[in-house]
Amino acid sequence: MTTLRVQFFGRPSDIFGPGMDIDIPAAGVPLSELRRLLVQSEPEASAVFERYGVRAAVDAEISAEDVLVRPGQTVEFFSMFSGG
């Protein structure tokens, strides 16, 4: 196992704060599994993820749920954008 730093923007930061460390296998995990681990640690995140369309980015690229996240990569979860 190794530790991955996950950061949060928008609504998810209310639950997780700006960032947290999470243990993942050294070979990496799909984003979907990372999302499951986050919900497991904070169950109220499930409703927030669904209601506010929370997406994820790997190395600053918005990524699909099957993308494999490896140690050393940057991972962020964030709710809908609201600029302007």
Partner: protein, 152 residues
Amino acid sequence: MARAHLCGEAFAPDALLAAFLEGRGDDGAVVSFVGLARAASRDGETVSSLCLDWHPVMTERSMLQIANDGARRFGVSDLLVVHRCGEIAPGEAIVFVAAAAAHRREAFLAADYVMDRLKTEAAFWKRERGPKGVRWIDPTDNDRADLARWSN
């Protein structure tokens, strides 16, 4: 040509416009838009400040992508987006958009298009601070309808 800048401090829209207007001998039109932080929420509650969270990479990149798309789509000669981030007081400018073109229609359309996309596609997360605390501001159905105008 399009430019987009993220700005962590208050900026003067009039100075940005003056600079944008310089040397425009080949353009027949400049359209500018300034978005301001309001002192009241949509529900009429007092807003003491607006806070715009941003991403260190995605935010400016998304702004530039939108500006480039607007410049290409409407064939404007220059397009500038400046967007605040961080804590913003009521009355301060949040966003400045300027478009220069040979004729006015293209400049109006480009500025309108860029603003509609910035509202829902620029990587910002907006919160209002008021007497009842802090609350997130999500995109509205109107914002999404505004964006949908450009889908054809």
